[in-house]
Symmetry: C2
């Protein structure tokens, strides 16, 4: 038997208990040992839940109990998670976490401590919920140099964009619906502004390129500027708009961004809809691979944490090699990156010194193919060829008639 | 430094050499040791290739060299691969293979020998080419009870069906095109009759359910009966036809089949086109996950073999647990399984004793919604509700007007 402790009895914490109860027999068979939850740390008590007899409020009880070899941290947030996890690792206890803020911020340091102690710091659940992506990056794609990771890494925004597309909702209505269904928080900023996806692509990029990618360095744009009119154009163009979190390696340079992208059905992430996540990885020998599944949710996330617990128990005195050094990777300024853009412009000639908008577009962008949507008057859309991000920023300053702009990847 | 041997210098064998040459530095860093190919076993010589100085023709040289700790077997076919691999494992050498025939037939036995010897028998490349699927099943989805695996596991047939759909080609023209492009063999039977996919789903099912699934027991139907007319109906129905290799667990019963299925865009495998493979897995806690990538090809397949080599080197004296016992899993007879069917029927009343075909369909199948395709006369299509496979076989005997029948999964 092996004793473990769970830090936090919220959604994921109670999911871990449920998964171990539901699949305990096969899990114990696979682990070779019986996994026993000895403590659950939480501020609250749960009088109506059998777990209550295991609830403790003092982390030191866990730290001081030598029988606890593995800890699952599912509290979320950087503190006190960071202090607890670091202390646990220093005391020789392996930690499995679903906490993306913690991993993005302190992953390299915590991995180093685990390595020095010959134990493990595992975080499969921190990106993509239940989708196996950390372990595949770490153990399966080892023959490759990764040249791109692009993910739909946030279920809330993907749900909102899917509903806007399927039901013609505007952003606020779709957000409200996501909140009513429990897919979006009361304060949805971390999701809709892209901060959540940003931390996750920072984690994946650090693993893929083996160096520390600071999430603060990643250009991040959310989905709040996407309107139902944009979605209508996307439909006419046979495309979808998705919030991509992406990092691309070109020679020795890596650039990363979180932003809405317009994609067509040729892209492997095109069919990733609703609350699902998908992660596309390109390697220099394996080519394109893609991983898809539930990016959040109680049981899928708990499934990933429990898989880590099983790995931690099977490797009690053996560090699983992870390619993530603390050396900082300096990302390329996205101003130096080229993208294609879908642009919507007013066709009010008064804005352009009485020039025809089509003429303006042709002169500025060299584009002749224009798109219009039945029932939407007063504007026109088009897709540019590759333009430097720096250049498009300049062009926008001189073009008051631009209504919206969305990057294109096809 | 660690010496390895490669058995077979064909497409995959030369790919392994190329991957190790291309990414050697990072591979050696990840492995912690320099991987050195000491021997390549092949019947032929390769005078113009630098590999020629490592070519040997006698397997005993490898067996008798104690410095060889890991062997990559990429010859294909059951013999002499089986004899070589078994002998190597018995001598304490780990083996990594891409050989699906070998793994499907002798996987359980070879895994047992590897376990007894505390070494490894790894076969990531045997299913889905470069797509990580064996290791995720084995090490990531360990908290779950798997209830379904459905894959597009054969690139040749997927290419043919994609071309038929995209370009309106008939089966023979699409096959010819696949052969011209090197995606199909001169003798394409193993692919187009579903035998290749059958072996792969046998391997995945054995791993998922932890028992031996004999490929001979799996009901297998290829794509040779799919016509360009079926594809036209599929388009009208907003569906695609895909060759699925599928096993589903319902309570204690597992049934498996390889057959063309009609699916719509809600299915995660809908966008798996051309030579790509995709594998959909359902677990009782993780929900739906899907893995996508190049299912074949020199470098993707070699990438998977090399990832296994890296794992074998990192675990020289440590068996990686694999959930596949030799105990036979008795599959449920598919006659007892229900499916929905798309059926095309002649509308020549003479066949039905001068009854109207619509009346016949309504009486037989209770179906009232009929589909027709512009320009295709003399017939009508429809989709049934759930019908037992045994029952549909009986019904077909009494219905001479049936032109084709394709299972439906939506």
């Amino acid at each position: 038997m092996i004793n473990i402790a769970v830090l936090g009895y919220g959604t994921v914490g109670s999911g871990i208990v449920e998964v171990l109860n539901t699949n305990g027999d096969s899990i114990n068979k696979r682990t070779g040992k019986e996994i026993n939850i000895k403590y659950v740390l939480d501020l609250k008590t749960f009088p109506d839940d059998p777990i209550n007899k295991k609830i403790i409020h003092d982390f030191n009880i866990i730290l001081d109990d030598p029988s606890i070899k593995v800890i699952a941290e599912v509290m979320g947030g950087v503190e006190p998670a960071y202090t607890f996890v670091k202390e646990a690792l220093l005391r020789g206890k392996s930690v499995c976490t679903s906490n993306k803020e913690l991993v993005a911020k302190h992953g390299a340091e915590l991995l180093k401590i685990a390595k020095d102690k010959n134990i493990n710091f595992l975080f499969e659940a921190s990106v993509g919920g239940g989708i196996p992506i950390i372990r595949p990056l770490n153990q399966s794609l080892t023959a490759d140099e990764i040249t791109e990771i692009t993910g739909i890494l946030n279920g809330t925004t993907n749900y909102i964009l899917s509903k806007m597309s399927e039901e013609g909702l505007d952003f606020n209505t779709a957000l409200k619906q996501a909140q009513d269904k429990g897919f979006a928080e009361r304060n949805p900023e971390a999701d809709i502004e892209g901060h959540d996806a940003c931390r996750k692509i920072a984690i994946l990029s650090s693993l893929a390129y083996g160096m520390q990618v600071d999430f603060e360095d990643i250009y991040t744009e959310g989905i709040t500027k996407i309107t139902d009119i944009d979605i209508k154009y996307a439909k006419v163009l046979n495309t979808r708009i998705k919030l991509f979190a992406s990092s691309i390696k070109d020679g020795d340079e890596v650039h990363a961004m979180v932003a809405p992208f317009m994609i067509n059905s040729d892209h492997p992430l095109y069919s990733v809809n609703e609350v699902f996540n998908g992660i596309f990885v390109k390697g220099n020998v394996i080519g394109d691979v893609m991983f898809y599944g539930s990016g959040a949710g109680k049981l899928p996330t708990a499934s990933a944490v429990v898989a880590d617990i099983i790995d931690a128990v099977k490797n009690l005195d053996r560090n699983i090699w992870t390619n993530w050094s603390s050396k900082k990777l300096e990302l390329t300024d996205i101003k130096r990156i080229k993208n294609r853009f879908f642009i919507r412009m007013s066709n009010d000639a008064a804005i352009y010194d009485n020039k025809n908008v089509e003429e303006v577009i042709k002169n500025k962008f060299g584009v002749v193919e224009l798109v219009s949507v039945d029932g939407i008057d007063g504007e026109i859309g088009f897709i540019t060829s590759d333009i430097l991000e720096a250049e498009i920023s300049e062009m926008l300053k001189e073009l008051p008639g631009v209504l919206n702009l969305i990057r294109v990847r096809f």
